[in-house]
Amino acid sequence: MSTEDSELDERKIVTFTLGNRLFGIDMRSLIEIREWEEPTPLPSVPPYVKGVTNLRGSVVPVVGLSERLGWAPSELHSRSCILVVTIAGRHAGFLVDEVQDIVVIQGSEIQPAPDVEINEQGAIAGLVKIERRTHDAAANAEAMCLLLDLDALSLTRQVPDFA
């Protein structure tokens, strides 16, 4: 990774979709991508916490990222998958619709997020324009990608009591 980090301030991001929107997270936070598998539901957690799953022997929460960001829950389909990420040393799985690509962007290309009306303040770290590759190269088009600030999505706050 560090070989890419020259003075050019390059960053690798993993892009994925939620509905028709395109999101990106820092590649360094990604641990693995796994197929969707129904997690074990938990009591007294917010609806966006889908439950916990077994990630190589440790118990990891699975979050419906779409709900977490204030949109309608993702519908499950064959390409639904879980992005396992690390947030401040803890692990979490995010349910996303489809993983798209790994893109290199320049730090200078990132624009600050306008006052985005989303559920979680500060979860959008910035906006960046990327080329969205499709199966037909001729149809490639530029698209807006919302960069997520994972730290803002930390799950470790205690939920006071169960419903």
Binding site: P41, L42, S44, N54, V59, R157
Partner: protein, 749 residues
Amino acid sequence: MSDELDEIQGIFFEECAEGLAVAEQGLSAMAEGDVSSETIAGVFRAVHSIKGGSGAFGHAALLAFSHRFENVLDEVRAGRIPASGEVTQTMLGAFDILSDHVTAAQGGTEPPADAVMLEQLDAILESKGAASQVSPVVTAPEPVAELDDFGFTPVAAVIDDFDPFGFEPVAVELDDFASPEPAEPAGWTVRFGPSRGALANGGEPMLVIRELEEMGAAVTAVDTGALPGLRDLDPEDSYFVWTLTLPGSVAEQDIRDCFDFVAPDSLIEIARAAAVVMVMVEEPAAEDFDGFGVFEPLPVSLPDLDLAPAEPMLTLVPAAAAPAVSAPVVQAAPAKAAPAQAEKPKAEARQGSVEVAQSIRVDLSKLDQLLNLVGELVIRGSILSDRLSPADQERVELPELSRLTRQIQDNVMSLRAQPIKQAFSRVPRMLRDLSAETGKKVVLETIGEMTEVDKGVIEKIGDPLTHMIRNAVDHGIESAEERLAAGKPAEGTIHLSAEQKGARIIVRVRDDGRGINRERVRAKAIERGIISADAPISDEEIDGLICAPGFSTAETISNISGRGVGMDVVRSNVEALGGRLEINSVPGEGTTFTMALPLTLAILDGMIVRLGDQRFVLPLANVIETVQPEPGQVQATSPSSEVIELRGQYLPVRRVGELFGMRSHRVPEDSLVIIVESETAGNVGLMVDTIDNRREVVIKSLEDNLHPIRGLGGATILGDGSIALILDIDALVAPTGGSSKYALKGMAA
């Protein structure tokens, strides 16, 4: 390099912690009147090694303070300052500052204010100076100085001649005997050859040499003889042997300290220039040499010297040993018999410690990894036994495998087990601070501090313990006048005990104070709206109220407790650990807090139950019995509550699915009721669909990646890779109504 240095620093701070524990134990023993030389020497050594390391790592403030502290200890050890109660108290205070210094050095924070304490230490040193001026005869003189007083000239001699004086004949070759200069101690010559792998192990010779140079050392020669040709040279190996000279005024121990962190197989020779001989001792007569009272046994562990076989022993003895032949010494000898005796056990202890020290340091995460793996092994084992018929199990010798697995598990668990002393060790310090704040004198009695508990438990009982002790001093122990008036000794006593009972560890904090003032507790609880004024309530229930959230009886909010969070926190912490808290109070006689904690937080004996397609683990410790209810045995008492009739008794029944809000769950006709014991609601029936089996599960915490969830004690991974949630019975069945309801029903039955 810097990583390695950090690692050694880490070891240094671990050793500091151990040293502090030893010092505190010793000082406490001294405070209780044990002023034996071993005890004092133990404290001295502990402080001394902290000083040594702090110098090597450049913790100047820590070094300066420990040095001054050590000076006083040295005088006390030598008997030049009596270990009086006052001196011991000052040293206890100095110890507290020392531990603050260590904490500051470790955290890189501001060192504590130690000026006042340094003055006190200096005052002790000065008082000794004054005493010896007034009555030099009374003060035990420095043995070497006394020798000088006789003014004889040292003569080289063969000690065989010594027979008439009743000494063991010892074969000694004292050839090349430079005449010692009694006036100026000869300079030191130090030879230092780091072991080959010193650099790889982070034993940077530069640091050692620099430290020596700070004491005035100069490198006089470098032996490069071991340096191989370029082809064979490994740049990471260390080939040189340095020879350094130091002024004679430097204490030998200070030189040795520089080598505290040097790899054990390094070459280290420390000698008075031209005044040191090697003495071959055929019999283990080292103590007889001490019999002269002249020489401290050199605190060198023989293996360190890399000199030679253990038998016959090699001992470095300064040449001044020779004067012993002259007559005046004979007169002097009986007088010194006593100190010589005192030295003896110390020498033995030191030798003993060389042999016993058979331990290695292991990174805790490695142990945890091992524990996890063994946990998985246990799980696989139980899956195998589920799948195989008893005959097949025998055929593949599964019982034998299970037994071995079990043994491995026990062994790994015991690796994580630590004496509970680690948690108790902070109590004396706390009590001293509390005494100073409240003006109440409190004596601590500790029992069972070697009881071994899982390290995780030790880490987590610190806070509850702190709160209980504070509570005992603040609310329990009365003022000295009050105590005397009640016919009690002016000093309060707190008993702290630990014992293992089955799979639990019982920790008790007992004070001999005034006990819980039930009238006041009740009045306060009514005032706070925790209970209603007309509620019938037993004495035990009143005692339990002090653990209710938001309860505090202190008239004024003190600095110590009385914020109304203390005992509430204690109870929730203990329960979060899967333990129980009990309170027993006798008015006028004192209060006992009893914590019953699981020995381990890693493995749980559980019953796997099923609800719909989800599985849960019920801690077997809570399970009393399982009932297959007859029709009509479970009856509704309200639209949302049910009871089960069991041998004439009605017990509440909870549907686990409902407690967890499992909407889709349909309760089957043939549901089972498991009767569980809870601290919060007595015996309760839990309704589940079926029971899968009973097995040990490895507890995975939810906090690691999420947050604690009320009603769950964690999760576990079953043999098929799926996750089962572990039920926390006490939290699950606890009534969740208003706070008043909680407090009253939440009491221990």
